[in-house]
């Protein structure tokens, strides 16, 4: 279970947010500029909040009162950024293998297994710059999973894909995340994603998580015009 309470600011945006991701996916939605990506970066440790506490299961990742701040490379959080950030100078397989085991060995076996599982086998030795959007997405996810993270953070994983690919990848991702049973936070602006992925949805606006609950709860009592509009634009 991933639990976080952070305050901080980025530019003129004040972030003051709390979220909890049990096993299963928490979908984080909100308008542009709400601070969703920044919150993810704070969870990862790439941005330092001014104050807060982040725990993952029993482990404390950040606690500003006691001065604990685990560095990014030790937090064991998987990250799939919005533009996938594949390493352009490495092949698909090298990307997925990038994580190292505790002894410093590339996780070759695990990487190979994931590549095959995601159907990327024929592409293993290709440069990542030659892949399609859907393929890149899978490589980014495989790469994050090869590190055996204890939680997964995905930032708009489907936004860059065309409609058809999006449907395919959404269903693939949905099944896979359900099978994984890792606490996950998935940022999206698409109500269809919220419906597909999340039992729980968190709404972020102006740096705060203004509402958190199931789709039904959000529809029954929307906390803001954005929420209202969001749930009404998704089909059910």
């Amino acid at each position: 279970m991933l639990q976080a309470t952070v305050t901080g600011h980025i530019g003129s945006l004040q972030i003051d947010a709390s979220l909890v991701a049990h096993g299963g996916t928490l979908v984080l939605v909100g308008p542009n500029g709400a601070g969703k990506t920044t919150l993810l970066l704070m969870l990862l440790g790439a941005r330092r909040p001014e104050a807060g506490r982040i725990t993952l299961g029993e482990t404390v990742l950040l606690d500003s009162t006691s001065g604990v701040d685990v560095p990014i490379e030790e937090r064991r959080l998987g990250y799939v950024p919005q533009d996938y950030a594949l390493f352009p100078h490495l092949t698909v397989l090298e990307n997925v293998e990038f994580a190292r085991s505790n002894e410093g060995q590339p996780r070759r076996a695990r990487a190979r297994q994931l590549v095959d599982e995601f159907g990327l086998g024929p592409l293993a030795n290709r440069r990542t710059t030659e892949l399609s959007g859907g393929e890149k997405q899978k490589v980014a996810l495989a790469r994050a999973l090869a590190a055996e993270p204890r939680a997964l953070l995905l930032d708009e994983p489907l936004a860059a894909l065309d409609a058809a690919t999006r449907r395919d990848v959404r269903s693939f991702l949905c099944d896979y995340l359900a099978k994984l049973d890792l606490p996950s936070v998935l940022v999206t602006h698409d109500p269809a994603d919220a419906l597909a992925f999340g039992a729980r949805i968190g709404v972020m606006e102006g740096g705060r998580v203004i509402q958190s609950g199931t789709w039904e709860e959000l529809r029954a009592r929307p906390a803001s015009p954005f929420v209202e509009q969001f749930v009404s634009s998704g089909a059910r």
């Binding site: 990014i72 950024p81 950030a85 100078h89 790469r143 590190a147």
Partner: protein, 271 residues
């Protein structure tokens, strides 16, 4: 032709005109030098006694200064690219200074700082000694004038590295040093090589600061540009031949650097 197409055509002609004139101007003196030197003159110029000691010395000193500039400049550039504070910006400006100081002024400044009566003389040297007139002084002068070119190019190259890649690499458990070697450096390498080539070319052609600070002694401090100036005093044709040698060496090395970069890029795409 439609009005828009006409405007586009005119704009294109202006571009070609301006670019062509500049390119020809830059090429013309080299062409003039080649044309003015007969093969016989060139051959006898090559056998001028100043040539080989000067060429050897130039290649030695520029290689050492390049290694120092790249070795110390790369971490500096990385730090400057990653920092946002005022101190970092100030350091960036300071690093640019040698590029705007006239070389002779740089030479005098080096002399006044590292010479026998210089600012640091008491702390750096035993009584009566200084680094002036040594090959090390040549290297120091070359480092001083050429470092800005590398550091600026390298800083820009590191800035252009996608920070998301850096964050992802760290989430995968890579410590910052490994991220630097395996992610940032490979992604910035073309900018670094281009900066290194510029820096090397600048130190190969360095004259004023070397003359002031290191002096002019064959085999020890007389680099190829100094040898050319010396030959100019006695025999213009020897100076012409030596100049062609310098241009050929510089051109050759720069071409080789570009070719290796291009080959590396092609290999990455083709694999």
């Amino acid at each position: 032709m439609s009005a828009r197409a006409r405007v586009r055509a005119h704009a294109y002609l202006v571009l070609v005109f301006a670019g062509g004139v500049l390119a020809l101007f830059l090429l013309a003196p080299v062409v003039g030098l080649v044309a003015a030197t007969s093969p016989a003159d060139f051959w006898s110029g090559l056998h001028h006694p100043l040539v080989w000691p000067a060429l050897r010395l130039s290649l030695l000193t520029t290689t050492v200064s390049l290694l120092v500039v790249v070795g110390l400049g790369t971490p500096l550039a990385w730090a400057l690219a990653r920092s946002t504070g005022r101190v970092a910006r100030a350091v960036e400006v300071v690093v640019q200074l040698p590029a705007v100081i006239p070389p002779a002024v740089a030479g005098v400044a080096l002399l006044l700082t590292f010479g026998r009566r210089g600012l640091f003389a008491g702390w750096l040297y035993p009584q009566g000694w200084s680094v002036t007139f040594t090959t090390a002084a040549v290297i120091l002068a070359e480092i001083f004038v050429s470092a800005p070119y590398f550091v600026q190019a390298a800083t820009d190259a590191f800035r252009r590295v996608d920070q998301s890649c850096v964050v992802v690499a760290r989430t995968l458990g890579a410590f910052p040093l490994r991220v630097f070697w395996q992610i940032e450096l490979p992604l910035a390498v073309s900018g670094l090589v281009a900066g290194a080539a510029m820096s090397w070319a600048r130190s190969l052609g360095e004259f004023g600061a070397t003359l002031m600070f290191a002096g002019n002694a064959s085999g020890k401090t007389q680099t190829l540009p100094l040898a050319i100036y010396m030959a100019f005093e006695s025999d213009l044709r020897a100076a012409q031949a030596l100049s062609l040698v310098l241009i050929a060496v510089a051109f050759g090395v720069l071409l080789a650097a570009r070719a290796t970069l291009a080959r590396g890029a092609r290999a990455r795409v083709a694999r």
